[in-house]
């Protein structure tokens, strides 16, 4: 034996490392509706294998817990078993020598407390209340329930126009979503089990970019009913589109001079080209939707006028008001909100930031949007100030990377403490308190606190506050619409209590969320307004979906989106993202596992052909 040797992983260890990665991906692809007790038992089996075997609670206790959980699952347990599970897990948490034991038992304990009723159901009735009724992960995670395997198959077949028609059955904003959707559909894509989720948003954008002009379907026979929609954002226009297809006469009222809502007044054109947004809006209006812009419902036009003149009213005003920082100096000249700044840009009045130093406060996507817009408006220095760490930011990682690439400076772990202004009242600096990251709160996010170092200043002449939006609910509250925690209270059917023909949804009811959730809310509202008006129109499509092929679907890298070079794109508001090429789109689409046909989808819920 040599005194020291260089260790290299052996074949078994290498294989196990591969299996760890497989398991990680598999957990990512876990579909909703699984039995939590069964999962807890499975996790525990992994933990059992990890114990080093030195200490009693971990070596013996985890094994005994495993047996007890099996008893629960096999309907051999009593409620005393549950008490024993809880006690044993607690003792392991308290007495295990290292995290292998205490964290393993902690998971069991958190489960017993988090889904106790599932344990009880197994023990008492010998069955599980969970059921796997969402067989196609992407579709079930899309708030609007878009037929994703269907349109991916159509893209693979080169039938982009049919793909757009299929998407429009559930979402009338295929182009906009192709550019800016947050794609929750990709999160649990079953393809993760093999390699990586499908680039669903990229494929949707490809379809939208290559479909040409796709006419909307014919509207149902006129019903004679009139519906008013307040707000021409994605939610309001979606509701208007479907209601119009159902044969109702729809008028949309918009406060701003142009329609689009946050798609226009929140998202800069380098992410969503105005031409693309206009394509969606034009299609929606072509279904017979009447649009009245520049009308301030609530202030200019009384809400009562609408509820009296129309058979139903849908409120989809979004969240277009800003939130205040609450620090000294906030009233200084040169402190603006992100909403204000983006609204100006949306209306085509691009301010000139040449030579200006800009501090952006916030860590969300809106903060990135204003920072990157500031760069494009000529700012000489843009700093993004955020009190936690970069990884804690709520903005999408690619947005943060994009901002950094375009020259924005990230001042993470810095909390704004006050704004300093010169004698004229103009901002001259933002003062920051350095932070230290601390304990993880109950929501799983680490809390920052003031670090033991002094304040420092970020010299600037413009501060943009991007710490969230609020809802201008006041006129609606005065009208009698219930409001809670600053949001309009609507039921899950979009109905509003107190007023029979009033419906509400989207950001103004849920608080600031995503485009696709607003669209989904519009869809829900359209269906329920239709029923409220005494109809049951069905929205469907005659697009035939290609049958799945038998290709082997070997592991294959995911086609990611590519971007214009940062140095070039930072100078204009032109689109920054390149669309997929035909070769890329075909390859990416062929990676789809067609969960609508293979697996549970062929049995139940694989396709919702109409709603």
């Amino acid at each position: 034996m040599s005194r020291l040797v260089i260790t290299t992983p052996d074949k078994a260890q290498t294989a196990v490392e591969g299996l760890y990665r497989d398991l990680e991906r598999r957990i990512v692809a876990s579909q909703p509706g699984l039995c939590p007790v069964d999962l807890a038992a499975s996790f525990l089996k992994l933990c059992r294998a990890q114990t080093c075997g030195k200490c009693v609670p971990c070596r013996v206790g985890l094994a005994q817990l495993d047996t007890l959980l099996e008893d629960v699952l096999e309907h051999r347990a009593t409620l005393q078993t549950l008490a024993l599970i809880e006690k044993t897990a607690r003792v392991i948490v308290e007495t295990a020598d290292c995290a292998i034991g205490w964290e393993a038992a902690g998971m069991v304990l958190r489960g017993v407390r988090g889904f106790r009723e599932d344990y009880v159901e197994h023990i008492v009735n010998g069955r599980c209340t969970c059921s796997l009724n969402q067989p196609v992960p992407c579709v079930s995670l899309c708030p609007a329930g878009v037929d994703i395997p269907g349109y991916i198959a159509l893209v693979a077949d080169g039938r982009n126009a049919d793909a757009i028609r299929l998407i429009r059955k559930d979402n009338p904003f295929p182009a906009s979503c192709g550019y800016v959707c947050e794609h929750p559909c990709e999160a649990r894509c079953r393809r993760n089990m093999i390699d990586k989720s499908i680039n669903i948003r990229g494929l949707k954008r490809y379809a939208a970019d290559h479909a040409g002009e796709v006419p909307v379907p014919a509207c149902a026979a006129p019903t004679g009913k009139k519906v008013a929609v307040v707000g021409a954002g994605p939610g309001g226009l979606s509701a208007a589109y479907y209601l119009s297809l159902m044969g109702h006469k729809v008028t949309v009222y918009e406060k701003q001079p142009l329609p689009g809502g946050m798609l226009r007044y929140g998202i800069p054109s380098y992410r969503l080209p105005r031409k693309k947004l206009q394509e969606d809006i034009d299609s929606i209006l072509s279904a017979g939707v009447e649009l009245k812009t520049g009308v301030d419902v609530g202030r200019g036009l009384p809400i009562a006028d609408l509820t009296q003149q129309y058979d139903a009213v849908y409120i989809a005003i979004g969240a277009h008001s800003d939130k205040k920082l609450g620090i000294p100096g906030e009233e200084s000249r040169g402190v603006v909100s992100a909403v204000e700044m983006l609204r100006e840009i949306g209306n085509g009045r691009n301010p000139d930031f040449s030579g200006r130093n800009v501090a952006v406060i916030g860590g969300g996507n809106v903060a990135m949007d204003v920072a990157r817009s500031a760069v494009r408006l000529g700012a000489s220095r843009v700093g993004i100030v955020y009190r936690r760490r970069q990884q804690d930011m709520t903005a999408l990682p690619e947005e943060i990377e994009g901002a950094i690439g375009e020259g924005c400076e990230l001042l993470s772990l810095h909390a704004p403490s006050r704004i300093e202004s010169d004698q004229e009242g103009n901002v001259c600096a933002l003062w920051l308190k350095p932070q230290i990251i601390g304990k993880i709160d109950s929501a799983g996010r680490p809390s920052p606190r003031n670090a033991d170092v002094g304040e420092l200043s970020f010299p600037c002449d413009l501060v943009v506050v991007a710490i969230g939006q609020s809802i201008e609910y006041e006129p609606f509250a005065e009208f009698g619409v219930p409001v809670r925690r600053g949001a309009i209270q609507a039921k899950d059917s979009a109905r509003v209590e107190n007023v029979a023909n009033l419906f509400a949804g989207g950001d103004c009811a849920s608080g600031p969320a995503t485009v696709i959730r607003a669209i989904a809310a519009g869809k829900v509202a359209a269906a329920n307004i239709d029923n409220y008006l005494g109809f049951n129109h069905e929205i469907t499509t005659d697009v035939e979906i290609p049958k799945p092929d038998f290709s082997n679907r070997p592991p294959c890298g995911r086609v990611n989106m590519t971007f214009r070079p940062a140095g070039e794109r930072r100078n204009d508001f032109e689109p920054i993202e390149y669309g997929m090429t035909c070769e890329e789109a075909t390859q990416e689409a062929s990676r789809c596992l067609r969960c609508d046909h293979f697996g549970y989808g062929v049995f139940k819920g694989g396709r919702i052909a109409k709603w």
Binding site: G33, L34, C35, D38, L73, H75, N125, G126, R127, C128, T129, C130, S131, L132, Q489, A490, K491, D492, S493, R495, G505, A509, S510, R517, A521, K547, D549, F550, S551, N552, P554, V602, F603, K604
Partner: protein, 592 residues
Amino acid sequence: MVNILINGTAFQAQDDATILEAAAAAGVSIPTLCYLKGINEIGACRVCVVELEGTDRLVTACNNKVTPGMSIRTNSPRVREARRTNVELILSQHDCYCATCARSGNCSLQSMANDLGILDLPYRRELPYSPWNMSFPLIRDFSKCIKCMRCVQVCDRIQGMGIWDVANTGSRTTVDVSYNRRIEDSDCTLCGQCITHCPVGALRERDDTEKAFAALADPNTVTVVQIAPAVRAAWGESLGLPREKATVKRLVSALRQMGFNYIFDTTFSADLTIMEEGSEFLERLKTRGDNPLPMFTSCCPGWVRFVKSQYPELTRQLSTAKSPQQMFGAVAKSYYAQLLNLEPERICCISVMPCIAKKHEAALPCMNSAGTERDVDVVLTTREVDRMIRAEHIQAKDLPEEEFDTPLGAGSGAGVIFGATGGVMEAALRSAYYLTTGKNPDPDAFRKVRGMEGWKEARFDLNGTPLRVAVVSGLGNTRQLVESVLSGKVSYDFVEVMACPGGCSGGGGQPIHEGEEPAGERAKNLYGLDQHSKIRFSHENPAVLRMYSDYMEKPLSHKSHELLHTDHQLWDMPLSPALADRENKTPEKTEW
């Protein structure tokens, strides 16, 4: 046409054919287990897998279609290994105690395992267990279920009821009553279609043959048995009798050998039903202002359970006439007991029915017109009576044909066709015509309501009164019809409903044939019998007429109301989940 290769030989397949269909057309048989054409094409058992050239994994033949140039191997070493392994895996969780299984000899899994020559299992046997209410007419055995999902699909897609659903998750996934209900608390109509579509013995009727044998063994009991119309078209199938041998007279002979004292025909009480229900309909037609139309037939207990659970508000539109089974029971324990000069308590009334729901109907507390607790004491399905014949080692094919006993053994051709969809309507129209005009129509004048179509409608002229009638079978079709009636899209005066597709000839208590829907064939048999009957009108059944003159007076008389009619509101039926939800309305969630 598509050019394909099957096991190296070139064939042309239909464009839209599945691999399974293309292979079958080419004379190559691919075994299947869960597959049920048009109903269950989910590739769950993975027994029909084939090898495709150029494809790494095996694919199921049942739900994948041929493509040009496809080269299919149906018996390659990989296919053989996979098929056998998957059957072994199914067997590892299946109660293979075949000797005591109702489906032994008629079990797809048993024949599959036998065909594959599986003599030993490499896997440990792990039988799932879950308790079940063994007194319910429908029995499910979790240790025999192979999770093919056929019952779920038949109940959802054909019957539109959704009683069965996938339960539990992960490897403990099984099939159970939906919404975590117990079967007795569910709105199961007891149509029994899940039983006749189960490939194994996981679903069956409650076995009441021992009760029948016990009655036969009791010297103080007089056994009176009735044979339903549809039974005569099917009873010989599982005994291996050719159709011409499997006559009802040979069944009479078999039952007599078993020792039944009096063997009668439910067609007698079918004719009686026509007299009562037909007269009731003509009354309702006259008073249509007070009585909402359509009037619905009430002879199918699956349909009665359906209407009470799905559309309780329509219960009052059911004919108040009892079903033929219950009319027979009431007559047997009153009129006939009197004829025999017997205490009704001494009579054990047994019925042979193509139906599971009849077991429930006979047990309803209101079906007790003679004060003996129940008018019909034991209900046997066609399958059960076949089991009794086998248990007695009666060689049915060698028996002579024998006549029914009198007087309750006399039936008309109109009574016989009760066993097929449209038959009740046709029989009723034949007699309604006579009752209105005083003369007989051509017995085939109403043939428009015959046939296996799920929803048929016809218009007739009844002595100047236009009559709109509809005939529906299968509960999925029934729901469509009822919805259309309620929304005013259609309008009828009289509607016949049968819960089972094709009517009683396709009933849930009939012999089971894997992958076949024999209702149509059996119905043809019944219509043939009608065609050759001497009497083809219910109102000409001499035994019925005699009973009216001697005992019941006339249709809708006080006596007949007492014995032959019922109030469908007298018993409770669990509501459908949608209605139950509406009743205990929970407030809407306020979260998005």
